[in-house]
Symmetry: C2
Subunit: 456 residues, 2 copies
């Protein structure tokens, strides 16, 4: 019965298609005709198929009953790949625990300020509610951004900034502008898994450099850039995803020098910037937006539902990126979104909110490290800020197997190899300390780590 | 002085760069050194450059004074290409008149319902305000969509629908999935200008078929599909952009047959659907989402600021498109946006709002046609609904020249050739009847159409 349902769900049998006759189906499945007749009768009762007199059984196109869908192989059977964590976390049920996800719980976000912003909008100007955005995005928010850049020592004009639908979409636009299939792109190892997924969509060749607690391995970086001549290097600033490490000033300087010698462009993803206790070296600031492109968004600090990101770069690149955004999304991002964000950032409560958030994360980080210690899970570095603890498993344990087992207990982990181009992080797990309170997580971990070895 | 400013704006001279010495610059510009010295002194007074003792003049990176920017060549000097209307309309000043744009004035949109939706959200669940969307987008809105499809006679399951950031982004995702550089894609001639811009971003070869008042020219369609074997055909449903024509049932059937014989996939853009007085043939409905992919959005009927579009297609394609959306935008579109839209569509006022809108457009269409007639501007067809009147100019006049002249009077038109792959629509203009009330438009048109011939 499942076979028929799967065929229907996969559209191998489309609405209106005629099912094989009972006899033929029975023969192909090596089952008795009476069994198949029973199956067809049950599916007909469910409304999934319908008998037409003298003609046979046809697929109706009605939704399969929820229980039937639950019985079928779910997407959770997929291989642990760079989409594994995304799909599971984004589509998680309300009873799933999500220590592997990359965002804060809704209750930690500045909900009061958002509600206030929505109320203000509801009384605001009609154009804001319904018009398309200007091609570069709301001027007020771009001015605000260059004001913040100026505080960091990065001079930029509003013509060097454009708003986008999200941070990921910002990087995607840059890739579309600068890359051709077959180009080489450099990533840290480990790095944010969606960088890999995105680059695969661009059909480029990915090479990697090991990431150390101070930044990309210095000699390794020089070697791989000389040998492979990547067009682009994509990295985090502030607090590395997944390790939580911070790049040292020496490392930042070396990266820029090597990039300059080899004509390599750098994309620096700044989305965790405000979680730092104090400003660390920024490639974009040292470089002055010449060779470095800065991208960011407000998804981690304000809201992932009010979608808005930005790109800061050389003006001629911004011109071309704007045209590309018009062609592929028509207009800049939601003026409504930009308005709410601008309101919150200028509202006066933002600084205090971030102070509290940093403190809350610091406590959660300490607490989480303490509770993971008895299980033998040890942080690779203790981050200065941010969400993550990148923890090494005891010898002999594989994080993908542990993650698969924990799924059965409805705990969604982030196994190391989804972050690793070279697949050398099988001994690591990335934990989001804001989602580590529930004791069921530790129980599931212990069970998965100490149970008998099973084939994956 | 402008030369230096332009160089600075274009980043040929970047912050920190040293300007050429006064003597050298004077020589290169064939000007006297004292003139250049005066120019440098003025720029230094403006804060744009700074003198360093014994070293020369350096670019500071400060914003250019607004007046200086206004004096410089604006983007309006660009060639009339598929981006011409987009950039001008999206970045229009509040005193510009926009008969060439493709959306309704803010005052015509359902603002009351949107404000109500924002207020409801401000009291709503925290997760909705800050969480990422699920990978396929809010289930409630997807269910609502398949309910509407069912009313049209198109059976679909929620697994065949995904939400996207916009209608344009929906088509872009489909292009990314199905096309490789060098593939051939078929468009109507004329067609929506952003289809061209989008396909150029995908580096595909574009071929076209003339559009008649009943749909694509029947013999021409068969010929070009046989000869060129396009991978994809992208078209409108309901009310063609820019002509306003409606496809006949015979034309729809022929298009599908030819597509089927040659294995060509069709993308049917449904965004103007609700502006029809009654349902016209839909390729997606006749085909049942087998070979046809339907895309749509709410930008034209509800809001272009609350960004949300959708794709309805075979389930296996939806699975792949979802992965592509995760890789390039991370997560589905804003749950906040989906929530407001769902609220409006189920709120009870939507049907009445659309009835009123259709009547308002019908009056505006009649009125506009009457006022254009004395100028010799005649509609190619009189549309059954929608925004547009596609009007032929009197013999000998070129719409691109007329559009360039009208820009000087702050009237932004949509000249025919931005819509035409074969560049054979130079005698046409597309008017948006919702933006045709102001008499200054007719005055500018008359002036541009009757003035002495000038070189473009």
């Amino acid at each position: 019965m499942d076979v028929v349902r799967v065929k229907i769900v996969n559209r191998s049998l489309a609405p209106g298609d005629r099912l094989p006759s009972i006899r033929r189906f029975a023969r192909s499945m090596s089952a008795s005709p009476s069994t198949v007749a029973e199956v067809y009768a049950r599916l007909e009762a469910e409304g999934v198929i319908r008998a037409r007199r003298g003609s046979g059984f046809y697929v109706t196109g009605a939704d399969l009953p929820p229980m039937a869908l639950a019985e079928m192989g779910e997407p959770r059977e997929r291989t642990v790949d760079p989409f594994w964590v995304s799909r599971l976390s984004l589509d998680a049920g309300s009873s799933d625990l999500m220590p592997g996800c990359g965002w804060l719980p809704a209750s930690w976000m500045p909900n009061g300020a958002i509600r206030k912003g929505l109320r203000a909008l509801s009384r605001g100007e009609a154009g804001l509610l319904t018009d398309y955005g200007s091609t570069r995005g709301a001027l007020a928010l771009r001015r605000l951004l260059i004001g913040r850049f100026a505080e960091e020592g990065l001079p930029a004009t509003v013509s060097q900034v454009m708003l986008t639908g999200s941070g990921t979409q910002a990087i995607d636009l840059i890739c579309r502008l600068l890359l051709r299939p077959g180009d080489t792109v450099l990533l840290d190892d480990p790095c944010y898994f969606n960088f890999q997924a995105l680059l695969r969509a661009h059909q480029v060749r990915i090479v990697s450099v090991p990431f150390t607690p101070e930044g990309p391995d210095a000699d390794g970086f020089e070697r791989v850039v000389s040998a492979e001549k990547p067009r682009l290097y994509i990295t985090n600033s502030a607090l590395h995803n997944p390790t939580g490490a911070t790049v040292s000033p020496q490392s930042a300087y070396r990266v820029l020098s090597v990039a300059a010698s080899h004509g390599m462009t750098i994309v620096e993803d700044d989305i965790f910037a405000d979680f730092e206790p104090a400003l660390s070296p920024r490639l974009a600031v040292l470089d002055g937006l010449n060779r470095v492109i800065r991208i960011g968004s407000f998804s981690k600090t304000l809201s992932a539902s009010i979608r808005c990101g930005y790109i800061a770069a050389r003006q001629d690149w911004i011109e071309s990126l704007t045209d590309l955004q018009i062609a592929t999304c028509f207009s800049g991002p939601s003026p409504l979104a930009a308005s709410i964000i601008t309101g919150i950032l200028t509202g006066g409560s933002y600084r205090r909110h971030m102070d509290e958030l940093r403190q809350r994360l610091a406590s959660a980080r300490e607490e989480t490290a303490k509770r993971l210690a008895p299980l033998g899970l040890v942080p690779w570095v203790m981050p200065r800020g941010g969400f993550y603890l990148w923890c090494r498993l005891p010898e002999g344990l594989d994080s993908s197997s542990i993650a698969q087992r924990c799924m059965e207990d409805k705990v969604i982990l982030a196994p190391g190899n989804v972050f690793s181009v070279s697949q050398t992080a099988g001994g690591f797990l990335r934990f989001n300390v804001a989602h580590m309170a529930d004791k069921r997580i530790y129980m599931a971990l212990e069970k998965a780590m100490t149970g008998p070895a099973r084939p994956v």
